[in-house]
Symmetry: C2
Subunit: 645 residues, 2 copies
């Protein structure tokens, strides 16, 4: 038997016993400690900072890679990277605020799109006659006859576990029972008495970062409770590729990742049930959405090839799985429906967004953007929809940005730069002292810098600028957003030339997608009737600034419609309406996936998109006008690579 050591994580006080020689990050995963790790233990992100308070000798020696991310003062103060700390004995560590993910802002609200209430779960109250020697009918066949004669339901199947107890249930209920059906073709429950008013369902959006859960009363279609939770897979890696890599290590690892997410989905539901006094047995169906990687990991389907070109999913169509089989703690005979996906990088959440925005049946030409580490772009209407996925990367989530962080307390979320004085106004989440910069502020920073002339249209800082905020740092020019006196970190919070490059890369990826789809569809920006902005991230971005930097195509602001967590909306619709659920299959089949990397103009388009807002400024007349007015319009036009046909 391997020797074990005990680790305690403060301030949560979580304790866990792990094998000698495992890393602190692994220990944190085992116990579910709230510790960020963007790279998932690859030792490349430097975000899993912890403070070893005592028994430092049990933490092993400092690795070279740690010196890249930690200052010598920090090392002296006991800072370590959890991924580099191999346990040599019992240890107590503190997870500092900046390494925690727990207090992150999680958006659950989305547009409301009305649907007709026709859930797949129904209940029927029955009064049955007792069997007699003259009529010794089998219990199940008796039930079927009555369902036929009283409710016109024909030839239903029955869950095996219900059948097993059926004789007892019928007699316990003195032949008055309530039958629960799924799709009106399978009996998934029989219980004594009349319980027809108690039918609940659970819609859950499994995001890479967060879970959003909705408990619905299926007799009314109304939401009765809402909550959210950080995705407990985060310690295994912030982005999907890292998690897929982890899951691909072996059957156990794949199963572990499933277990973690299933636990999270259960934990979220538990909270919803406690709020509302609903019994888990009264929840009969779950509709889950998520990107294709979350979809595969949730169902324990081999995700390996999602990370390898050409990224084929294992399955596209929607799936129904017995709740007990995957360990979801609702009625054990209940059903878990996972919406269909479109492609390896356009998942069930995308289908849900298209359902919620009703793009698929609109006359208006719509574009929808769901921005994240991967950004999905949809373009079309009832006549057809194109979709693509853009590798916008984790910069907007804070990775690779010097002072980048998630949208948690203390994150700068909005920035305004005085065009004359270059003074910086900023706003933080929860009005805390600033810790770092989250994605919405990064968009602001780029737009404001461009308007203020701190950068030009190619994102290069103007080193001739007379301001003490612009200075040379270790790795080139940097702009001071917050002076150390105001910062929670007691350091100047700066935005570097490299940070600018990362954000432009992200916006270029997105813009390459929007331009490619517009070309496929044979339209230009002016043809777009509605620009839907879905997802938590898009809800906090200033649309005008996003347009100025060319993250959004240039459409009038009144055409921009922020729809919040539309994936959650779509999941709720598919939960309460069988018609909506059928529509998701049509969406999955009909949306035409465009593989950007396979497009002939992919590279030239990416280069065109690297400019702010775009190499062909005629596509951004309003922004051009603004830049001219401010004197920031480029003297020489950017290099533009026309598309080959």
């Amino acid at each position: 038997m391997a020797l074990e050591v005990e680790v305690t994580f403060q301030p949560e006080g979580k304790r866990v016993r792990v094998k000698l020689g495992e890393t602190l990050l692994e220990a944190a995963k085992h116990v579910g400690a709230d510790l960020t790790s963007i790279c998932g233990g690859e030792r490349t992100c430097g975000k899993c900072r912890v403070i070893v308070e005592r028994e430092r000798e049990n933490a092993g020696s400092i690795m070279d890679v740690e010196r890249k991310f930690l200052s010598s003062e920090e090392i002296a103060a006991g800072y370590r990277l959890a991924c580099c700390t191999q346990l040599r004995g019992n240890l107590t560590v503190r997870i500092p605020e900046e390494s925690r993910t727990g207090r992150q802002r999680l958006q659950v609200e989305g547009i409301e799109t009305p649907v007709k209430l026709e859930p797949l779960i129904n209940k029927y109250f029955l009064r049955l006659s007792k069997p007699s020697l003259q009529d010794p009918k089998a219990d199940f066949e008796k039930l079927l006859e009555e369902l036929q004669s009283q409710y016109g339901l024909n030839d239903l199947e029955i869950s095996f576990d219900v059948l097993r107890r059926l004789p007892i249930i019928l007699r316990d209920g003195e032949w008055k029972v309530t039958v629960t059906t799924w799709r009106n073709d399978t009996i998934i429950g029989v219980e004594p008495g009349d319980t027809t008013r108690r039918i609940f369902g659970y819609a859950v959006d499994i995001g890479t970062t967060k879970l959003a859960g909705y408990l619905l009363d299926l007799t009314t279609g109304k939401v009765v409770a809402v909550d959210s939770l950080m995705n407990p897979q985060i310690p295994y890696g912030e982005d999907v590729i890292t998690r897929i890599t982890y899951a691909t290590k072996g059957v156990k690892e794949q199963k572990d990742l499933q277990q973690v997410i299933v636990n999270g989905v259960n934990q979220l539901l538990k909270g919803l049930l406690e709020k509302t006094d609903v019994n888990p047995e009264e929840v009969y169906e779950v509709v889950a959405v998520g990107n294709t990687a979350m979809h595969h990991l949730f169902l324990n389907i081999c995700p390996k090839f999602l990370a390898l070109s050409p990224y084929p999913p294992a399955i596209k169509r929607g799936l129904d799985v017995n709740a007990e089989k995957i360990g979801i703690q609702i009625n054990p005979n209940g059903n878990v429906h996972v919406l269909p996906v479109i492609a390896g990088f356009v998942g069930a959440d995308a289908v849900a967004v298209i359902l919620a925005t009703e793009m698929y049946k609109r006359d208006e030409l719509c574009m929808a953007l769901d921005i994240g580490t991967n950004t999905e772009v949809f373009l079309g209407n009832k006549d057809g929809i194109f979709a693509c996925s853009c590798a916008s990367g984790p910069a907007l989530e804070g990775a690779r940005i010097k002072y980048g962080m998630r949208a948690a307390s203390g994150a700068i979320e909005r920035v305004k730069i005085d065009l004359n004085t270059l003074d910086v106004n900023y706003w933080t989440i929860d009005n805390d002292k600033p810790h770092g910069i989250c994605g919405s502020a990064m968009v602001d920073i780029l737009a404001e810098m461009l308007k203020a002339g701190i950068i030009d249209v190619s994102g290069v800082m103007n080193r001739d600028l007379a301001s003490d905020r612009l200075r040379s740092g270790k790795a080139g020019l940097e702009f001071v957003l917050v002076w150390r006196e105001e910062a929670a970190t007691k350091e100047d919070i700066v935005f570097t030339q490299n940070d600018i490059k990362e954000i432009i890369l992200a916006k270029s990826a997105i813009h390459t997608g929007t331009m490619t789809l517009m070309r496929k569809k044979g339209i230009v920006e002016a043809d777009i009737d509605i620009l839907f902005i879905a997802g938590a991230f898009g809800s906090y971005i200033d649309p005008e600034n996003a347009r100025i930097i060319g993250m959004y195509p240039e459409v009038p602001l009144e055409k921009v419609k922020i729809v919040g967590n539309a994936a959650g909306t779509g999941a709720r619709m598919a939960l309460v309406s069988s018609a909506a659920r059928n529509t998701t299959e049509e969406i999955s089949k009909k949306v035409k996936y465009v593989e950007l990397a396979a497009e002939p103009n992919f590279q030239s388009e990416f280069l065109n998109s690297y400019f702010l807002p775009y190499a062909d400024l005629s596509r951004y007349p309003q922004t051009s006008e603004l830049l001219k007015k401010l004197g920031r319009y480029p003297k020489r036009p950017p290099v533009y690579f026309p598309s080959k046909t």
Copy 2:
């Protein structure tokens, strides 16, 4: 923690640790020792005799009930009833030959009824194209497209566990794979390479006493191995009512009985696989038949109400259950199909018999009898079939008969009495020294005694008979079949007046069924074109003697067709032919069950049937002729109760 003691069962040498205070019978159940118990521990049958060899003090004191079944010599020799022996310490006991069931004659052969080979399991070999950026189709959808284009199969489902591994399997097989389908609508397997020639199925007849198993090659429809096994539920009670009573004690007990029978079904299969070098993964479907109690217990469906009037089953129709779900060790995604039942006492085995005899589609009017503790009677043809179940009781299996035993080695199976000298000729199974009398001999004994004038048509022994074989015993008159010098038991083997009564009761129950169905159908014996005799028991009964005592209706012997284990035949047919399987559902629906106890003439008919062969001798003209010739025809006609209409 409860104290434990160790018990060793000889001659098998099986050891088990059980709680102090448990009985030897319970210990035997735990370890699966080969020990008969007809009453299942109710202390009423006296059959679970064991010999305590050492440490007799650890066996507790003799109970009063044991003195009823054991002589004082036996008690002195260490004999005990296992059900009465409470463990007070470690114990070694010997199970004597007569208490063992292991060497019993088990019939597996049945008629062969040809069917068209169209199994529900099929395999398809596929060559797939690799995905590319131009065609990044989902794995499952790619598979479906090829199944459609190469084999015309549309829109299949896939077992969730297969889907989980699908991406790996496709790539391991380098895009050349074999797909296994069930009903051509569900994919239950995908494996690398071409395995289309390896498809096996398992038909199993779960009898109350024995299991008969058949391994079939589903590519040819041929049986590749056959075997049988005692039903390992026997230590829980020989008859179904005792087992139902046990299962009704609680959820655990019900589950226990399922586990035991599932283990038996697995053990039987394991032997078949070893004989034939077939891998369990290559067995994709099981078809199981059994009476309704076995059906419920095998599936862990609450059997309680099968034992309570009006005896309704939980379900009639056939059931498909995932093999892994009930623990059957074939391919884990394989299917277990249990044929439909007709009523609480007319089970899936009856449906299989009707399928195998093809009664349901014949022009000829057929009667079929499947004799056992419950005897099923079927009467009809393509125009309709009536069925009933007769409580013939366990006498024919040896219970309640002084020297009764099962058809194991040493059982007298055939008897001939010299009509003049009253000398007895007998034949034993395996030509062993006689231990006792099994059911087929009991039928002979009654017929021979009647012909020899030892009994009259009401079964009463002729006490005036001058023969030293007829004598007064403890409980009235008895007839010596075997003198102690020849007997293995060193006791005279006798047949008592009470034994005669028990056998007449059994035959009366059966005859009441045949008469009732004939009346329902509006026919008489002469209208019967074929009399099918199904089941192991019927295979060994002399049809003429069965007719003489009125166990069979009087039809010419050439119309009697012994079909052996027709239930096994029916199971095999349903395994290899989907048409046959569909037919079983029709049979289950169309056969009209007659509840004898609810029939107005039930009691009078039972009284009529108590005579040898029957109170209305005009229904047995041939037998009457024989009795007249032998001078045994009754001087006064028996009392006959005409049926009310």
